[in-house]
Amino acid sequence: MTEPLPRDFGGYPSRAAPAYGQGSSANLADILERVLDKGIVIAGDIRINLLDIELLTIKLRLLVASVDKAKEMGIDWWEHDPALSSRARNRSGLAAENARLRAELDALRTGREVLPDADTTAGARTLTGAVPADEDAEVLGAASEERTGERIREAEAGERAERRPARRRRPAAGPRRPREEPPP
């Protein structure tokens, strides 16, 4: 993996090349950094907040949105990023696990509909009870990465959720829900 030093320098002949050698060969990260983050800001007629679209945000949204697409493009930085890779692994595992469990739950629901009511409630309670307290924190953590600034707050929210197991009775609430309710 270690590239020898000269390779990086050899690529930029300073004398032979035309004055502007970057052109279409420039690294996408470098281009995005410059066109999204640098350059003059002039408020045109159509206003968008590019500050919301910082590189970090793009990276993390990519993780959630289209990992396969990114891999096709040869973008796999998260596999080298020690701060992200463990979470990345967790998340894809989590998504698969989630899908599987949801499918099971659907199957259960369909099956239980013909059964007496009491039975259904008992089954639901068992399922709810089996949810580990830290799961909500995981999901919160994943969602919060869209905005770095929110990460800490949400991690705290996740901790609060852990401390209040009663909340687990409503597992269908979306991950953003708990954040909107101020802690008691």
Partner: protein, 321 residues
């Protein structure tokens, strides 16, 4: 096909520069549309028509989340800026600067006239060079790695737990060394570069490179260098960049002066930041990052399926009840 168009601005140049008109002749921008010039009293905006269906506010906000679309637009934007910069001095504009018509473009030029003319004068004959410093501490050739392999194979006679901890300690020591070396390299490179550069900007480090370098970026600088001094600048930086294999220096450029286009006083939000504390801060952050990395790694040994009830069955994260 109705689909109106709006006016996309790539950059601003001096209207008298003959090189500008050579540069835009035959140039194609976003969506393959021809690139033109809208001039107003000494300033010229490099513009192109783009479909309103993609660049009005609502669709644009959505599209920016689509990396394929974003990459195409970003590259097209950059190529236009690059082509113009090769012929004349240009102030690159932030991606997606859009006006409804050319009258509005002229109005914007008039508003920013004084600042832009002053900046264009300062940037004339200068190019931007990017200098990034990477640490390869987590790579397979880092000093800690052989210890890890020995520990993993059990050849040292230590219990797996002790071997694991020892490996972690070795890794941490190796990382500390590599970061110290990197800091030193950053200092030397910055000093060497300063001799030839008119301005310096320390950018946010690229966390997790989009390119597959497998290394951690600890310094991401840009220098504004007179075109005539570029060779001397490159030689000086390369001289300081050599050294141990755990630190790598990458030079990119020449770029149009993206990092120096904004007037630091007029636009403090986008002004280049000089932050000598960048490298130490990164090194300090690295330790908790590696420490937190151990927990999931250890947990994953239990096997992905072993964690009971990893997901709440009734809690799809993205759906409302």
């Amino acid at each position: 096909m109705t689909g109106g168009t709006v006016c996309y601005l790539y950059g601003i140049a001096g209207a008298e520069a003959t090189g500008l008109y050579d540069a835009v002749g035959g140039l194609r921008g976003i969506g393959g549309a021809p690139v033109g010039v809208v001039a107003d009293r000494g300033l010229a905006a490099v513009v192109g028509a783009v479909p309103a269906a993609e660049f009005e506010e609502a669709p644009l906000t959505r599209r920016l989340e689509d990396l394929d679309w974003l990459e195409a637009v970003a590259r097209a934007h950059h190529e236009v800026v690059d082509a113009v910069a090769a012929r004349t001095t240009v102030l690159p504009l932030r991606l997606a600067t859009i006006c409804r018509d050319q009258e509005r473009v002229r109005a914007l030029l008039a508003e920013r006239r004084a600042g832009c003319l002053a900046r264009l004068e300062l940037l004339a004959g200068r190019v931007e060079w990017g200098v990034k410093v990477f640490v390869l501490a987590s790579g397979p050739d880092a000093p800690g790695a052989p210890a890890e392999r020995a520990g993993a194979s059990g050849g040292t006679g230590l219990s797996p737990g002790r071997a694991y901890l020892r490996t972690r300690r070795h890794e941490r020591d190796a990382r500390d060394d590599a970061y110290a070396l990197a800091e030193e390299t950053v200092r030397r490179v910055r000093a060497a570069a300063a001799e030839f550069a008119d301005e310096h900007a320390a950018h946010r480090v690229q966390q997790g490179p989009l390119a597959r370098t497998g290394a951690e970026n600890v310094a991401n600088d840009a220098y504004l260098v007179p075109a005539t001094a570029s060779d001397a600048f490159l030689t000086a930086v390369r001289e300081e960049a050599g050294g141990p294999g755990s630190v790598r220096v990458e030079i990119t450029g020449p770029w149009a002066p993206y990092s120096f286009a904004a007037d630091p006083e007029a636009d403090p939000a986008t002004a280049p930041r000089t932050d000598p504390g960048t490298a130490p801060a990164i090194a300090a952050e690295a330790v908790p990052a590696s420490a937190s990395g151990t927990a999931p790694a250890a947990a994953s040994r239990a096997g992905p399926g072993a964690a009971p009830g990893t997901a709440p069955p009734g809690a799809p994260p993205e759906e409302e009840p």
